[in-house]
């Protein structure tokens, strides 16, 4: 009895459980207030419109696990999108070849972050703040501030707007990346080393872990996937512009932190990141479906963008606070329950 109860409080106290409740709440709320929220086409839209952020959140997780941060990914999406557009529309390259170059460019951008962070020992926040401006600035320079590239072939646009086996095409790519990152983080020595580095970088070095190399890999992966996300984004919008991906880095970081990854590094899971992403994606889509309710004399859907920023912030703070509260409640209860036998776990 006490054992099951202890286990129950443990599960409730887990961050993922809090998040799951939030997601259920969102689904119930939006299906009641919104129009066609749970319709087949809207559900696939929820994912279609947010896959890029999901991809960035997945690869942001290893970066944050090492105790770092990558603010440059949104700008890197913009730069890769613009370069992709130029290569296809001005150089006449095939979308496949241009896509591969975009991914390579993203990889290079990530390697640049990695080099500055590990070779020059600069703080990740500062380095990626710098490249955040640099990459966006380059994207704007390449388009002279206003040009955009459109008119891509239908076969390419199908990547962003088509379906495969009933699901949006890009969702399959997302699944593949998610599976890969999950294996990386939870099943490889590299993933283990990310945690060790996040908890104790010096300790990891003393244990013979190649700290600089492994940190570099996290940023390189983040950059490569930013390149991939750029191609998917262009395929969905049918247009490559310098402002592609503005603000995506913050949404990705929000999803990761909402998913329970410690911003100080060390602890966190891919399952948490996926749930965090889902919570953010549902919120952004759901607000746009609320047409018959008004806020400040306007339909909610028409101010969805403004509201979603505010609500994402509240969601992040609320979920984190709820976890802390649940945890302290659980420890208090555990203490009350086990007081006659304070340390059941010690076992000589």
């Amino acid at each position: 009895m006490t054992a099951t109860r202890g286990k129950f409080t443990q599960i409730v106290a887990r961050h993922e459980s809090v998040l799951l409740l939030v997601i259920v709440f969102e689904v119930v709320l939006f299906s009641m207030l919104g129009r066609n929220f749970l319709s087949e086409s809207n559900v696939s839209n929820i994912f279609r419109h947010s896959v890029e952020i999901g991809l960035l959140a997945l690869v942001m997780t290893p970066v944050i696990l090492t105790g770092g941060i990558d603010l440059s990914v949104g700008s890197l999406v913009g730069l890769c999108a613009v370069v992709f557009g130029i290569l296809v529309k001005e150089s006449g390259m095939s979308p496949l070849a241009a896509g591969m170059i975009a991914v390579a460019l993203g990889t290079f951008g990530g390697a640049m972050n990695a080099g500055l962070i590990t070779r020059l020992k600069l703080p990740p926040l500062i380095v990626t703040l710098g490249t955040f401006s640099l990459f966006r600035g380059l994207a704007e320079a390449f388009t002279k501030g206003s040009e955009s590239y459109s008119g891509f072939s239908d076969s390419f646009l199908a990547l962003g707007n088509g379906s495969v086996a009933g699901l949006p095409t890009q969702l399959w790519i997302f699944f593949a990346v998610a599976a890969g990152v999950w294996v990386l983080v939870h099943r490889t020595t590299l993933g283990r080393s990310f945690r060790a580095i996040g908890y104790a970088p010096e300790g990891a070095r003393y244990a013979g872990i190649p700290v600089e190399r492994n940190i570099s890999l996290a940023y390189v992966l983040s950059g490569a996937v930013a390149g991939l996300a750029a191609v998917i984004l262009v395929a969905r919008l049918g247009e490559a512009r310098a402002n592609a991906g503005v603000g995506y880095e913050l949404l990705a970081i929000t999803a990761v932190v909402l998913g329970g990854t410690s911003i100080f590094g060390g602890s966190g899971t891919i399952a948490g990141t996926l749930l965090g992403y889902l919570a953010v994606a549902l919120l952004n889509n759901g607000l746009g479906r609320i047409i018959s309710y008004k806020i400040f004399d306007q339909p909610v859907s028409s101010v969805a963008r403004e509201l979603s920023g505010m609500l994402t912030g509240l969601l992040l703070l609320g979920a984190l606070a709820a976890t802390v509260l649940a945890k302290s409640l659980a420890t208090r209860r555990a203490r009350a329950q086990t007081s006659p036998n304070p340390k059941p776990q010690t076992n000589p």
Binding site: R187, T188, T189, L190, G191, R192, S193, R195, A196, Y199, A200, E202, G203, A204, R205, Y206, A207, G208, I209, P210, G266, S267, Q345, T346, N347, P348
Partner: protein, 488 residues
């Protein structure tokens, strides 16, 4: 454990009273009690014949107690005058600063101690000894009657030392009582009137300096028998595993170390804190790679530039700072134990949880680690058990040379003798062990040979039979029979 047990200490005006003791004898704790940083849980403290209960740091300052630490605690971006001004008078939030008065006062105080330092200089631009002089000026200016100096000459050159000595003598002449802490016996003879020796948190006597010889002082500091609790050595050591010729590292101050460690042998490294022992270990393990001399492992010449290289060559290092470098407290002990063998145990980079768990279960059993299981986070274990986890991580690498840095620091008595037994067992299995320890009985009890370091050099290597507390301490302090460098 009590840091101080019934210490009696008395300081009269116009005297320099030296405080002497090994690492961990309780000197710092006593200073903290006198300056109000720590509250004693017994006994009384009187200043000027008046008992002061519950002394706080600010009350201590009011009573004229000032302490000058090894590392001066000044604001580097402010000028000398501003620093002195701040120390003498706590400014109100919006009170006006009287620049001229502040500057004049500072100049006067600096002149009084004979320091040629401009009051307008930024503290950042001053050398360490100059900063210490500023500290002394602050102490004087605040009307200190009791000045405590904690190893003030540790970072000074010969010339600066003489300047400092002159200042101390001036203080004495003006009726200030000075508590002087130093490891350098010659300074104590040159400067102090009386000396109190602390050992294991107890005062073992206060004597006029002239009544004691150097060797009597050392005897007072170490004066205890090595207990028979240590596991005995057995068998003859085998082949030479580690051989060092003139090894040094200019970055960390290690110089000209010559040493051999054989299979099956425990070589202890004694010395005072800061003698360069950990620095030597860090050179051997490639954390701060050496840049002088030759290092050989099993006869092969090696140059180690990185811990990874050291590990693959069969060197293991159980670091001194267990919580920062030895064990990752948040991670399960099983993960901690396999951290140095990722490449061996997890071929292809994929984790194998079964293999990891069985390895951890074996170590938990073999080393007697008290934990509820392999998944217990390192931080949930006691200090001694954490240390065993740290040792297990390195045994898993199947090393040829095991370097242990303060293996029983902060470990309770029971776990300590268990760790000793484990170390001796490893040596019996043919491991070469280099053990750094500041615990003199431990070094003497465990080692087959004892090396003593001082100032980054290995100044003496003794067989177990010729090593006793007094000779080791004399070599560590650089006095007595060991005038030169006799590296073996």
């Amino acid at each position: 454990m009590r840091a101080l047990k019934g210490v009696s200490f008395e300081l009269v005006p116009g005297e320099v009273h030296a405080l002497l003791g090994e690492n961990g004898a309780g000197k710092s704790t006593l200073i903290k009690v006198i300056t109000g940083a720590h509250q004693p849980d017994g006994g009384t403290l009187e200043v000027g014949g008046v008992e002061v209960p519950g002394l706080s740091p600010s009350r201590a300052r009011e009573l004229g107690i000032a302490c000058i630490y090894q590392q001066p605690a000044l604001f580097p971006d402010l000028t000398v005058a501003e620093n002195i001004g701040l120390r003498l008078k706590k400014p109100g939030l919006f009170s006006r600063v009287r620049w001229a008065g502040q500057r004049g006062r500072a100049a006067e105080l600096l002149k009084r101690i004979g320091a040629e330092i401009s009051p307008d200089a930024e503290v950042r631009s001053l050398s360490m000894p100059e900063q210490q002089l500023v500290e002394i000026a602050c102490a004087l200016g605040s009307g200190a009657r009791i000045v405590i100096m904690d190893e003030p000459t540790a970072s000074l050159t010969q010339k600066e030392q003489h300047l400092l000595f002159a200042v101390v003598r001036d203080l004495r002449a003006s009726g200030v009582g000075v508590v002087y802490i130093s490891h350098r016996l010659e300074e104590i003879f040159a400067l102090a009137d009386r000396v109190t020796v602390l050992r294991d948190g107890e005062s073992v006597g206060t004597n006029p300096v002239n009544d004691l010889t150097e060797s009597q002082m050392i005897q007072l500091m170490v004066g205890r028998e090595v207990s028979a609790l240590y596991p005995p050595a057995e068998g003859e050591p085998g082949e030479v595993v580690l051989s060092l010729e003139n090894v040094g590292c200019s970055g960390s101050g290690v110089r000209g170390v010559n040493l051999e460690v054989r299979a099956g042998e425990i070589v202890g490294l004694a010395g005072l804190v800061g003698a360069g022992r950990t620095e030597l270990a860090r050179v051997l393990f490639g954390i701060t790679p050496g840049d002088e001399g030759t290092m050989r492992l099993l006869g092969e010449r090696v140059a180690i530039s990185d811990p990874r290289e050291a590990i693959s060559l069969g060197i293991a290092y159980v670091p001194e700072d267990r919580r920062k470098h030895g064990v990752i407290l948040e991670m399960p002990i099983a993960h901690n134990m396999t951290m140095a063998i990722h490449r061996k145990l997890f071929r292809g980079g994929m984790l194998r949880f079964g293999a990891e768990e069985s390895l951890a279960v074996n170590f938990i059993r073999d080393l007697g680690i008290k934990a509820w299981g392999p998944a217990a986070p390192g931080g949930s274990l006691s200090g001694g058990n954490q240390q065993k986890v740290s040792v297990a991580r390195w045994l898993a690498t199947k090393p040829k040379l095991l370097i242990l840095d303060e293996p029983t620091q902060g470990v309770d008595v029971g776990a300590k003798s268990e760790i000793h037994r484990i170390i001796r067992g490893l040596a019996k299995e043919g491991l070469a062990v280099l053990m750094i320890s500041s615990d003199l009985p431990e070094v003497l009890g465990m080692s087959d040979r004892v090396g003593v370091m001082r100032g980054g050099e290995l100044v003496k290597v003794m067989e177990r039979s010729e090593a006793d507390a007094a000779t080791v301490m004399a070599a560590a302090l650089g006095t007595g029979g060991t005038s030169g460098k006799e590296a073996a």
